[in-house]
């Protein structure tokens, strides 16, 4: 399976994603510079975390105009797998591949911490390795992770099981106390209608090796790879 990791100016989790996919998961991985648009031959694109264009205007809002993004959109529209992590998630909402928007954290500060997540939907190609309702632990590291979507859109998202991860307690309770950033309904990750574009604020690539304290993130990559083999 061939993964492409997009590199925008200011991306800074590109190396981490590369490391996990290449050295932990043993996959074929290439970097894709944002000025080069050839996405032929890739099976899954990863939009990594970071501060694309410094996030100076609004997170992800400049990167969506990068030359490569038109191709990413058509890649996704043709059914290609796209995974957006943190800043990658922000770019996906800005580019319209995913609904909603990511605003500044409710207490206006950057938060770096391990959080508990409830797997709300394990029937996606990205999450099939998790159990339904399973509580996993992944790190977050963001200043703008406060997911917002308006009422009707939220209802639509819920209706189609578009919410994939929510912030929860260790016991799986999706409560205000478990919400680190003010996201509506504790939403941490969502998927598009077609089921091929996932965006999430937590960093699975930082929790894929035991030496780093946890391997819950690895299951996500494993799911993608196993799903691809089956298809």
């Amino acid at each position: 399976m061939r993964f492409g990791i997009l590199v925008f100016p200011g991306s800074n989790c590109d190396h981490d994603c590369y490391h996990v996919l290449k050295h932990v998961m043993g996959q074929d991985v290439r970097y894709i510079w944002h000025k080069d648009g050839d996405l032929k031959g890739f099976d899954c694109l990863v939009l990594p975390g970071g501060f694309s264009y410094g996030d100076y205007l609004r997170t992800g809002s400049i990167a969506r105009f990068s030359p490569v993004m038109d191709d990413v959109v058509s890649f996704a529209n043709k059914g290609g797998l796209v995974l957006g992590i943190c800043n990658g998630f922000q770019i996906l909402t800005e580019s319209g591949l995913l609904p909603g928007v990511l605003m500044m954290n409710k207490d206006l500060k950057f938060i770096c911490s391990d959080v508990n997540l409830k797997v709300e939907n394990n029937s996606t190609v990205f999450t099939s390795g998790y159990k339904a309702g399973e509580v996993i632990s992944l790190p977050i590291a963001h200043g703008d992770g406060n997911f917002f979507i308006d009422g009707p859109e939220l209802a639509a998202l819920r209706d189609r099981d578009g919410v994939v991860f929510t912030y929860s307690t260790a016991e799986g309770e999706v409560s205000p106390e478990a919400n680190p950033n003010g996201s509506v309904d504790n939403i941490a990750g969502i998927i598009n209608k077609a089921g091929n574009v996932l965006g999430l604020m937590p960093h699975p690539e930082r929790a894929s090796e035991s030496i780093l304290g946890g391997e819950d993130g690895r299951v996500l990559f494993q799911s993608i790879i196993e799903g691809f083999v089956l298809s």
Binding site: G10, K35, D55, L212
Partner: protein
């Protein structure tokens, strides 16, 4: 412009110094040249008050690849890799404008590291502020922390550790010391040198603006009233551009296009070109007309003295100009050939085809004034060391004392600070902030580096020599308990006005202390900086020799943390507690006394302790190891109990020692003590190793399911320890709690 006495004074040069300029130059300098002398002969760039004292640090060792003198020191970490690291201060700017001051400090130290060819992999910081009694403290902490976070997070370099210390002496002059470590292949180290007559000088990075002019001169002065008026001398950071600069430079380093590279830090274009020429034994000619700039009408004076951030100066090989340009163009960065290396050892500045400055390099460097300033022990020194223990009442309730200590801003959990730093990016952080040292693995090997920063300013105030010696010993101990062998250190020597003899005395004493520990523990100094004039309205800060130390773990399975793991393990104390409460956090926060004789490190004992600890960790039997420092044994036990993954109970009996009071037993800050936990069946191995090294060993108790008990003295719940430790700092910074 005519050079008047006022103009000379405005440039921070004394009358004597100006006379020296004229004598060395053989003529009066022009205005542009005066500006160059102003920054190059400033304390910040010339180390004129400190240089004579910095000689005699041990700076060599088989592991040392590059000692002081380059942009940063370099040590060998095996497998063809080296670690480049350095700590630097950004004190004055951070007090004037906390966010940008701290941010650009972080940006500057990272450039020092990647200019050597290394990718930065870890940032640390050591922060000193006034107490929360001062209304500006929360604002300063908040701004500095946000600035460090804003820059480091965007760069994608994890901030893995740090220290925070509050004391009244910093209320008018906070300290922001930042450290970066990077990894480079040993055969790919780059230096800031200009060689090869005719080689092009290339300017890359941000355009030059009018920010930060005279930053170095400002950093070489004391604050009076209205220090805020100097805000325009503080630079403004752009971490996004620096991220591009980093990636572009690392791409450039894979080629053989260049001979040298130097970042433009303090004193900008001036000091970078002078330093490169000086190291290369050559001269540099720069044409101001070609310098990329943000606004029209900038003069040569401004272009030379601007401290605009995110800029580098490169000496390329002739003919490689276009290839270098292609790399920087890819990253959307400015890249201009602005001059060339010349044979004549001079810095020559052209503007409109005319020479506007022409100064021989050695006049700017070697001929800079050097002062052996008078030093005298302060009259008050003996008074503050006097402590009548009879006047220190023994507390009735040690439970309450322990909880108050854990809640002290100098001890309590720093999570509300470090959670604002991305400490995990690069996915190498094995031991996150909160333990004795941060541990960062090196991908592709089974090795890790361990990093720590240390200094107890109160100890340094009471006895600068003992305090500085202890800072080195404690830093080494923090690495050792993490399973790392100390390799080298960098220091930030923060002191008051060196023109006052008592400050010079503190400085000299502190240096003597550092040297003694470095020699005894065999840890060389490979770089650092000196920050003087840290005082406001005549009040100097406590002497603050911050130590940043790097250690190596050669087998990742030996990485050790400070926290007890579960009930049923044996708790052992290595080293012994000595009488004396001088300089303790207990005396300061419970009894309101900053007095007494600071604890001294017994270097021979310390050395044996480190050997024994590393040897026993190597056997694989140690489950946790924690250094005893601020707050003494009781606080160290509580910290070990408060494992972030869930607290572990403690039941210990410290016994009765005839010459120790109970508060000494619990809170004395005797150096050379380590708390270990292990299973009982491994105890004999530990006993054997301690006996072989002559290290006192005492089994003091066990880990248990619930509660925190020290027989006859303390009995409290883990929950109350936890809330005192974890919930105290954040409300103070937010201004929601009164100190």
């Amino acid at each position: 412009m005519e050079i008047t006495a006022e103009l000379v004074a405005e440039h921070g040069l004394s009358t004597d110094e100006y006379e020296r300029v004229v004598k060395e130059l053989g003529r009066e300098p022009n205005y542009v040249e005066l500006g160059i002398f102003s920054v190059m002969w400033s304390e910040h760039c010339s180390y004129k008050s400190s240089r004579v004292h910095l000689k005699g640090f041990p700076t060599t060792g088989p592991q040392v690849i590059e000692g002081p003198g380059e942009n940063a020191g370099v040590v060998d970490i095996g497998e063809g890799l080296a670690c480049v690291f350095k700590m630097e201060s950004h004190n004055h700017p951070s007090f004037i404008e906390p966010y940008q001051g701290a941010a650009t400090g972080v940006g500057g130290i990272m450039r020092d590291i990647f200019t050597m060819g290394a990718r930065p992999v870890a940032n640390l910081n050591s922060l000193f502020f006034g107490t929360f009694q001062h209304k500006k403290t929360p604002y300063l902490i908040d701004g500095v922390v946000a600035g460090i976070a804003g820059y480091g997070n965007c760069m994608g370099v994890p901030t893995v550790g740090g220290a925070l210390y509050l004391n009244d002496s910093y209320s008018g002059n906070c300290l922001v010391n930042v450290m970066t470590a990077g990894i480079v292949k040993t055969d790919k180290i780059f230096k800031g040198t200009a060689t090869g007559t005719g080689n092009p000088i290339i300017y890359v990075g941000s355009k030059t603006g009018r920010d930060g002019i005279h930053g170095a001169t400002m950093a070489s002065d004391v604050f009076g009233e209205g220090g805020e008026e100097r805000r325009p001398t503080v630079q403004v950071g752009d971490p996004f551009t620096e991220k591009l600069l980093l990636e572009a430079c690392l791409e450039l380093f894979k080629t053989d296009y260049i001979v040298g590279i130097q970042d433009m830090g303090a004193a900008g274009l001036t000091s970078s070109s002078v330093e490169m020429a000086s190291r290369g034994g050559a001269g540099i000619e720069i044409d101001m007309d070609r310098i990329p700039r943000r606004e029209e009408g900038m003069t040569s004076y401004e272009l030379l003295l601007s401290e605009s951030q995110e800029r580098m100066l490169i000496v390329a090989k002739q003919g490689m100009e276009d290839k270098v340009k292609a790399i920087f163009t890819k990253w959307d960065l400015d890249c201009e050939v602005v001059g060339k290396v010349i044979k004549e050892e001079t810095v020559r500045i052209l503007e409109g085809g005319q020479i506007v400055a022409d100064i021989p390099v050695t006049i700017l460097t070697e001929s800079a004034p050097q002062y052996d300033r008078p030093a005298e022990k302060p009259a008050w020194q003996d008074t503050v060391q006097a402590l009548d223990m009879g006047s220190v009442p023994a507390p009735d309730d040690y439970n309450e004392v322990l909880l108050r200590l854990l809640a002290s801003p100098n001890i309590s959990s720093r999570e509300s600070i470090y959670s604002q730093f991305d400490f995990m990016v690069r996915s190498d952080t094995v031991v996150s902030p909160g333990s004795d040292a941060a541990v960062v693995r090196i991908k592709g090997t089974n090795r890790s580096i361990a990093l720590t920063v240390d200094c107890n300013p109160l100890h340094c105030y009471l006895d600068p020599r003992a305090g500085a010696s202890a800072a080195v010993a404690e830093a080494a101990r923090n690495l050792v308990v993490s399973g790392a062998r100390p390799l080298a250190l960098t220091d930030c020597l923060n002191f008051g006005n060196p023109e006052r003899p008592e400050i010079m005395w503190q400085f000299r004493e502190a240096i003597a202390g550092i040297k003694a520990s470095c020699h005894a523990l065999n840890v060389p100094v490979i770089g650092g900086n000196v920050s003087l004039y840290n005082e406001t309205r005549g009040e100097g800060i406590y002497p603050t020799p911050s130590i940043g130390m790097l250690g190596l773990i050669e087998d990742n399975s030996l990485i050790t943390r400070q926290w007890f793991q579960e009930a049923g393990h044996v708790i052992a104390l290595l080293g012994s507690t000595r009488p004396g409460l001088g300089g303790t956090e207990y005396l300061r926060s419970i009894h309101g006394l900053e007095q007494g004789v600071a604890p001294k490190v017994n270097l021979e004992e310390e050395k044996s302790l480190h050997k024994a600890c590393l040897e026993v960790i190597k056997t694989g039997i140690i489950l946790s190891a924690h250094d005893c420092s601020e707050g003494g044994l009781a606080v160290a036990l509580a910290e070990a109990a408060l494992n972030p993954t869930g607290p572990v109970g403690v039941d210990v009996d410290l016994g009765v020692t005839p010459n120790l009071r109970s508060d000494e037993l619990l809170f004395a800050e005797t150096h050379g003590r380590i708390i270990l936990s292990l299973t009982e069946n491994n105890l004999s191995i530990l006993e054997g190793i301690c006996a072989a090294h002559g290290v006192p060993l005492q089994v003091i108790g066990r880990t248990v399911e619930h509660g925190f008990a020290v027989k006859g003295l303390i009995n409290t719940s883990l929950k109350s320890l936890e809330s005192a430790f974890r919930d105290s700092l954040s409300p103070l910074i937010r201004g929601e709690a009164t100190p």
